[in-house]
């Protein structure tokens, strides 16, 4: 492996602008992680307009920092207040808050920070080794492979989203349809534009992401009565003892591996990884009843895993051009805005971007470790900022921000429409994630499908007979049918139990 581009990546990171935006990213990430409400996907969406003025590397370094920074920040509220700042820290609540009640909040936060750092770093190293290989493998992919890959990616994301699977697939279909609005790339014919000039070039990604994730989430949260938050004034003794470290070292090691693997899989990501790592530790434990009562491993495992997964979920995006989760879909959109199309050619055509972003994660994780151990008290104070004040400011930033993208009032209207849609979707059990993901993949999917059909001269069996696209489609069928098979098995089992 040629190490020159890797080393050059470091010189990219160490440019003052990039260092600054790495710091800005991780600080914002920590903040939104601490504040319940907006998640990383929403925050990154709302900040998309700022990235227009930045260099591509700088922009993505900042956005990536927000993503993994949020994993660190989300822990703080889980432990101290039993209020998970992020979905990926929900499971930390059980043992983290139990530790806090025993007066050991510092230990929990310290272990989480160290675990996150190790998980993140292990994942970056593995990412550096694995990503170029995957990208090299994918260089030979033609339109049929991309069709199969994009279909599988969308299906996997829909399958593991938190709502009902059917609803997630409906959201994905709506995303695919929205992507067809505008001029057809092949024939130039206008599609679904309703003779509206503003729709002639299609719907822009920015108002969709800002509306569905940003405004949608804010409107959804309006229905919740937030109780006054009682944040402790100070957190003592953040350094975990040697015994704590010894107790959690195994959990950190296993959490890193689980997190890395689940992060790479489309639809995996930080939340699933944290759940799986917690489940594994509980199962392995000699006294599983300790879990929920303040077991350090119960904090170390999920926090390590969610950070490792956040990092490794960049692999499918940077090597295949397929985002693995909702946040990656927004970063995909950010790359497209910058004129960079993510895919296997990225590592060879834009090595400075590829390695710059990956290597910035080392720096970002060091910054986060520094911030989350000695400066944790500072972030705890942020909790006193009331959601009632932050919400309208975020709304204004969104409305003004989306205008700055194209200086078009129509974009403000669009973002409001998608905000209302995002609210309705969340309310009715449809996750907006699959919609946004399908939207960004929509044109790629359509283009490769049409090209494939032309290559195959209309014979759709061509998809199955090519080895890679055939395998991917077989995986698609397995994933699609798995829930049905499971349901049938479960019914049989319950029937046999009843007959006993």
């Amino acid at each position: 492996m040629d190490l020159t581009p890797v080393v050059e990546g470091f010189s990219v990171v160490l440019e003052p602008t990039n260092l600054l935006f790495c710091l800005v990213g991780v600080v914002i990430g920590m903040l939104i992680g601490v504040l319940p409400g907006l998640g990383p996907a929403a925050t990154i969406a709302i900040l998309l307009p700022i990235t227009f003025g930045l260099e591509p590397v700088t922009a993505i370094i900042m956005l990536a920092g927000i993503f993994y920074g949020a994993q660190y920040g989300g822990t703080i509220t889980s432990v101290l207040l039993r209020l998970p700042g992020e979905a990926s820290s929900v499971v930390t609540v059980f043992d983290g808050h139990a530790l806090a009640r025993q007066g050991r909040a510092g230990t929990a936060l310290g272990i989480a920070a160290i675990g996150s750092f190790i998980g993140g770093t292990v994942s970056i190293v593995a990412l550096s080794l694995l990503a170029p290989i995957v990208a090299g493998f994918a260089l030979d992919f033609g339109p049929p492979e991309y069709t199969a890959l994009a279909l599988l990616g969308i299906l996997l994301v829909a399958t593991v989203s938190s709502g009902h699977r059917l609803k997630a697939l409906v959201a994905a279909c709506i995303g695919l349809l929205l992507a067809t609005v505008g001029r057809d790339g092949f024939t130039g014919a206008a599609r679904f534009t309703f003779d509206n000039l503003s729709l002639a070039d299609g719907i822009d990604f920015v108002p969709i992401a800002m509306g569905l994730f940003g405004l949608g989430e804010i409107l959804y949260n309006l229905e919740e009565r937030h109780h006054a938050v009682q944040a402790p004034k100070r957190v003592a003794n953040v350094w975990p003892s040697r015994a704590d470290l010894r107790a959690s070292s195994g959990a950190i090691g296993r959490g890193s591996v689980i997190g890395f693997v689940l992060g790479v899989l489309p639809g995996g990501g930080a939340t699933i990884a944290s759940l799986a790592a917690y489940g594994l530790e509980k199962r392995r434990a000699k006294q599983p009843e300790r879990f929920g009562q303040g077991a350090v491993e119960g904090v170390a495992a999920p926090e390590t895993a969610n950070n490792a997964a956040a990092t490794s979920s960049f692999i499918p995006l940077l090597t295949l051009g397929i985002p693995a989760n909702a946040t990656m879909a927004v970063i995909f959109g950010a790359l497209l805005i910058q004129g960079v199309s993510p895919g296997p050619q990225l590592v060879t055509e834009h090595p400075e971007l590829f390695w710059g972003v990956i290597n910035s994660m080392y720096i970002g994780n060091i910054l986060l470790l520094i911030m989350s151990i000695p400066l944790v008290g500072l972030f705890v104070r942020i909790l006193r900022v009331r959601a009632t004040i932050l919400a309208p400011i975020t709304v204004l930033i969104t409305l003004v921000g989306v205008y700055t993208v194209g200086n078009d009032v129509f974009d403000i209207l669009l973002v409001i429409v998608f905000g209302a849609l995002g609210y309705l979707m969340k309310k009715l059990g449809f996750e907006p994630g699959p919609l946004v993901l399908a939207f960004v993949l929509g044109s790629l999917l359509e283009e490769s499908l049409r090209r494939s059909l032309i290559i195959f001269e209309g014979d759709a069996t061509g998809f199955v007979t090519r080895p890679i696209s055939g395998t991917l489609l077989a995986a698609f069928v397995v994933v699609a049918l798995l829930p049905l098979v499971r349901a049938v098995l479960a019914r049989r089992r319950s029937e046999s139990k009843e007959s006993v």
Partner: protein, 171 residues
């Protein structure tokens, strides 16, 4: 994985989901499910009709409408699936009186976009802030007025002064 282990993990997931929904409105009734299912089918049919009008083409020569046609067919099938499942999913929430807060919030945004080209962003932005703080957030009169004005001034300095964004403004 034995069933015992998977049961334990599903317990964890269940606890997690409950923690997330602690402050949320109750689960919606069957009527909501039916309306959602019909809406999805309707959307699918509308897209289907639109795709056919665009020209569906053939596998050998895919046309402008081919892809949207395929997606709409899937959407209709999924919508019918949702209709079959009515009453069996529990992830939709009931629309409660708190929903009015959301409508009010949306109304402030629509007012903002409706008048921004005419009178600039300052007054609608201040009004939006004020409504959200005082009526949606329950802040005090004083805090609401001061925060609204301070935010608009800050926005003016950043967007008009520093970034020179051509956002319509009054002053």
């Amino acid at each position: 994985m034995t069933s015992d282990n998977s049961a334990r993990l599903s317990d964890v997931v269940h606890e997690v989901e409950e923690a997330e929904h602690e402050f949320r409105p109750p689960v919606a009734g069957r009527l909501t499910d039916v309306v959602v299912g019909i809406a999805v089918v309707g959307l699918g049919v509308a897209a289907l009709v639109g795709s056919v009008a665009l020209g569906v083409g053939s596998p050998r020569a895919p046309g402008t409408g081919t892809w949207p046609f395929l997606v709409s067919v899937v959407l209709v099938v999924l919508g019918l699936g949702l209709l079959v499942l009515t009453g069996r999913t529990h992830d939709a929430e009931r629309f409660t009186r708190a929903g009015w807060l959301v409508l009010a919030g949306l109304a402030t945004m629509i007012a903002f976009v409706a008048v921004i080209s005419v009178i600039g962003f300052e007054i609608p932005a201040a009004l939006l802030m004020f409504v959200w703080l005082k009526f949606l957030g329950g802040e005090s009169w004083r805090a609401s007025i001061v925060t609204s004005l301070a935010t608009v001034v800050a926005f003016y300095i950043v967007f008009v002064g520093l970034l020179a964004v051509p956002i319509p403004h009054m002053f």
